[in-house]
Symmetry: C2
Subunit: 350 residues, 2 copies
């Protein structure tokens, strides 16, 4: 394995766009939920493991998530990552009661802002918010973007089983559109009622359940007509688009078949002809968790090379060999530079 | 559009491998469930629509599903389909009570057998069974394969929320392995509790929910170690592998991470190193619903050209232009022949 260096000697900077952190305040709040009555089963499966297992992987991850200083910069250096776009890790504020969520959003944004100030050439922030308080969330997004220099909004998918296509969340979408910042919809565990069979089979998390949950969320945002109401909104989804690019033909065919037959009141005709038009015009895809040339090229081909961005998914998935594999993709330098650097510079206005 | 003809003039026969039929007995049973107390919500969304909507699509589909004679052969002729491999449409027997399921399996197998006898060069059957009675199902599979000439087993995914990895279904897997016939896991709507949010959003069916349900089923069969117990079993999944080929890198990475950390008692080490080994050695993928060159080629590349087969998904999705699009794929004649013809001949022993 060759040594990975920052600085762009390979012809592009590496900007990792779905990198996670957590604050001690959040971990303390998570611990309280785990110790409380009847915790959400998906949350318990996820954070009961990451917070309390003594296995190597969860121990590394909880330490690394808390790092916003020299340790993180060293891990970036070791992996050749020039810049990291950071977001409060899942479920962020969204498992909390409203008051706690509001406090955590504000405090974690301030903490992230300080880290970005300390490392202005290396760290970039996404704004947390508390969707439990949509009007307040819009104000916090505005503060974080205009006062703290945040470049996107992180939504850790559903909020107590509610999704961004529901009308109460309109202030959040309005704020993001008005401020011209993208919303990153990051996976969460499926809500109670849906998640239990996946937990029993050991597939509720990143292996499968996350993709179901967030693919569903993104598809809801499309078929509900939400993007017709917020046509300039840009939505980022990771994990190679949660497989929606691969499903694109079927999404288009079956959406049109359903609309023609008038099957659902909730999913009528859209302004754009196809579901895929929204994927190609309102979505940006990152390859977090998928350091795999075939899926990256497929998505570049069907969604567009200007809409596929690099992400590492640190610290959940961060072996250096993945960076090397992506450096070695059989792909023109121009396309690789768009993937690793310039798409992120455009999307986050760096 | 050029005229599509049967007979192989294009250099291969077209064998469609996930084609659906239904019997009047099944429709009558479905009607009873719909009229009964508190029908399963996913079933109600699906069959309440297909059985009772007067829109053009459901009317065409329910008529076409019942056709096992001249009408079906004409539709095959019109679309250039040389042979069709037929299965009792979803949810088949699996929404029924045990006694009704047993009766429907036997009767529908007899009816399908008669159709295949009437059109021996055109129609091929998959055996229905009633997983509600696993021992009886194994006997019915044996009867259907050895006496009726059926070439595979259709499992319309979960049976009242239960999946093939659960130990009570071992007799079914044993029978299929011993008789050397593949099991086709066809989508069903998600069970009660999981399906309701998807119904509300209009995405419970073929547009999205089916893929979630059946991708989950196939993944359960892998991570549970079921294929270590039945190593010769071959499983067919449609709809481009319910996106599992696209997820392959993440499945491998996260399965190994979970196993190393000992996260789940239900999902331990497997005999084969990777989840993807099972996809490449125990699964066959059809392109039902996905008449789309990029996804077909991707799957051929990552799973293997000998494991990707053509399916039309008649009558749910059967425009002739899709056949023409697949004829026109930029693909060698050898590979196209494997896709359209010879893989199916090998898998079903035609």
């Amino acid at each position: 394995m060759t040594e990975l260096k920052t600085g762009g000697a390979q012809g592009y900077l590496r900007i990792a766009t779905e990198e996670a952190f957590v604050t001690q305040e959040a971990l303390d709040m998570y611990g309280e939920i785990l110790d409380g009555p009847d915790p959400d089963p998906g949350f318990k499966s996820l954070w009961g493991f990451y917070l309390r297992s003594e296995a190597e992987r969860p121990k590394f991850i909880r330490d690394a998530l808390l790092g916003l200083g020299a340790g993180r910069i060293k891990d970036m250096d070791d992996r050749g990552i020039d810049k990291a776009v950071l977001a409060l890790t899942s479920p962020g504020t969204q498992i909390l009661s409203k008051d706690k969520a509001v406090a955590l959003a504000r405090n974690s944004n301030d903490e992230l802002h300080q880290a970005c100030k300390d490392h202005p050439d290396r760290l970039i922030g996404m704004a947390a918010c508390a969707p439990q308080d949509p009007e307040g969330a819009a104000k916090e997004i505005e503060r974080a973007v205009t006062k703290l220099g945040m470049k996107a909004v992180i939504i850790n998918s559903h909020t107590h089983g509610h999704y961004l296509d529901e009308p109460q969340f309109a202030p959040i979408l309005e704020a993001a559109e008005a401020l011209d910042v993208p919303i990153y919809i990051h996976p969460n565990t499926l809500p109670r009622g849906q998640v239990e069979p996946l937990i029993a089979a050991g597939i509720d998390g990143a292996i499968f359940g996350f993709g179901v949950e967030t693919g569903m969320h993104a598809l809801r945002v499309i078929v509900s007509g939400t993007l017709d109401k917020f046509p300039k909104l840009q939505v980022i989804i990771g994990h190679m688009g949660e497989a929606l690019p691969f499903w694109m033909y079927r999404l288009d065919f079956m959406h049109q078949a359903g609309v023609r037959a008038g099957r659902y009141a909730s999913s009528g005709p859209l302004k754009k002809e196809f579901v895929s038009n929204y994927l190609k015009e309102n979505f940006i895809i990152t390859n977090s968790g998928v350091a795999w040339e075939p899926a990256i090229k497929f998505t570049q081909d069907v969604i567009g090379k200007d809409r596929v961005m690099y992400a590492m998914d640190y610290p959940y998935q961060c072996p250096a060999y993945e960076v090397e594999a992506l450096d070695n993709m059989d792909m023109s330098l121009d396309d690789k530079k768009a993937f690793f650097q310039t798409n992120a510079e455009r999307v986050f206005k760096l």
